[in-house]
Symmetry: none
Subunit: 272 residues, 2 copies
């Protein structure tokens, strides 16, 4: 029985004919945020290395230093078994399409190492293939000859009046969806009670506005100040903050806020 824990292979990011070094750097940062490591460029407009990339890469510096450059998309993707191509527009091509979430789940199907039914067996049953996400140049996007090299066209259900994502934003969106696919696939399943209690949604019509809450907090804090609640003034800030967190966490309704005002009023009356 195979019991070794093998880390998943992370998707390669391929930028076809990228134009601006800043975007390449920002894409590397987004990759680093999501745990991706392998960046490949096909014919970058301004050559490589590009001094504009590093400042925008921030913590993704090492990704930029290890970035490789290729003369053609086919060369850049030579070791890839499953590739998704991001596009702002639909194509008249007989190719499968998917939204980013579905595409990320497919990527994870191929590159992830998921021990199936871990309670019964740690047998590694799938995954371990190289996958890639492909993005086109800023101005024009991918051309159709590039798209048909991919297995799946990713179409993003964005605002139809302005669906054009910045290149690094597109990379983040896909890298993030892959990371969430991994996160959800590798986390232990939660019971329904756990899911419910982690959300705790109140009936919406009753929620107090932030203005109502603020007014209450000020009233409460004034009352406490007047009453000499904060004997050690150093602690006052932290104590007030924790009180606010407490009341906010309870998600008070307008009615409850009004009741709490009554409580303060009543208590202050007693004091006099």
């Amino acid at each position: 029985m195979i019991t070794a824990v093998v880390p998943p292979l992370t998707p390669i990011v391929i930028l076809a004919r990228p134009q601006m070094g800043e975007n390449i750097g920002a894409a590397a940062r987004a990759m680093m945020n999501c745990g991706l490591v392998d960046l490949r460029l096909v014919n970058p407009r301004d050559g490589w290395p590009n001094p504009a990339a590093l400042p925008m890469a921030a913590g993704g510096k090492e990704i930029i230093e290890k970035t490789t450059v290729f003369q053609s998309l086919a060369e850049a993707a030579h070791d890839v078994s499953f590739m998704v191509a991001a596009s702002a527009r639909r194509r008249d091509l007989p190719i499968k399409s998917a939204d980013p979430r579905a595409a990320a789940n497919m990527l994870w199907e191929y590159d992830g190492i998921t021990p199936k039914a871990p309670a019964i067996s740690a047998k590694v049953v799938k995954g371990g293939l190289r996958t890639a996400m492909l993005f086109g140049p800023e101005a024009s996007g991918l051309d159709n000859d590039e798209v048909v090299l991919a297995d799946v066209l990713v179409t993003v259900p964005l605002n139809p009046t302005y669906p054009s994502l910045n290149l690094a934003q597109a990379v983040l969106l896909m890298a993030w969806e892959w990371r969430m696919a991994m996160h959800l696939a590798t986390q232990p399943a939660k019971s329904e009670v756990e899911v419910l209690s982690s959300q705790m949604i109140m009936p919406v019509e009753q929620l107090a506005s932030i203005e109502e809450r603020e007014f209450f907090f000020h009233r409460l804090e004034n009352g406490l100040d007047e009453g000499g609640f904060f004997t050690v003034s150093d602690m006052a800030t932290a104590v007030k903050r924790n009180l606010r967190a407490f009341f906010t966490r309870a998600m008070p309704s307008s009615q409850e806020i009004s009741t709490l005002h009554g409580v303060i009023q009543a208590l202050m009356r007693c004091r006099k």
Copy 2:
């Protein structure tokens, strides 16, 4: 019975003490991509308007032109009933936390207008409150006094060695999750067959019928038999089955089947 179609309220984006105009502009672009419209700034470092914002806003120009500025977070959020605060780090605060997907679903619970059980009734049963997403300054993130004004702290399961997102990337991530929450909530539930067929760009009515495919397979197999393709007859059944699986997996259209007939015909002509 209420049957009016009310558009959902979209979350307000509040940037607390943002530093760089470029990031404010890029955040507006990301908002526009996801259909959000209301951007509010609390004490932007370099004042407002900021000439660095507009070039990065691209199609989000109008959002920048309508951006409003406030002196305090409480003022910026005065009309908000449910607010989530994005943070790269966990806090030692007694506040609920959620990942971006769960947080986006909560936002949608409050701001979205979802006709429940549309098959039975178009009654609008929930939603319609103002919600907000709160983001801190680039260098330091939100301080704890800002976080406790929010209902939920959003912690993002990013690469623990470098979880720090660029400000505009953080805005995109949350805005995108909200958009997907809306997208998934407002789409009619699909059958499994529809989900499968929606992953093909090809209109499903063009898919070749099983009869057309069968006819093609027979023709192909006969051609192979005639050409002595199956030298070991034991293997013929399995090889034929695998060929069928290959062609079926491609989900050929009627037109493509007809083209394939032409291919077989042409190849057989050559053989003679």
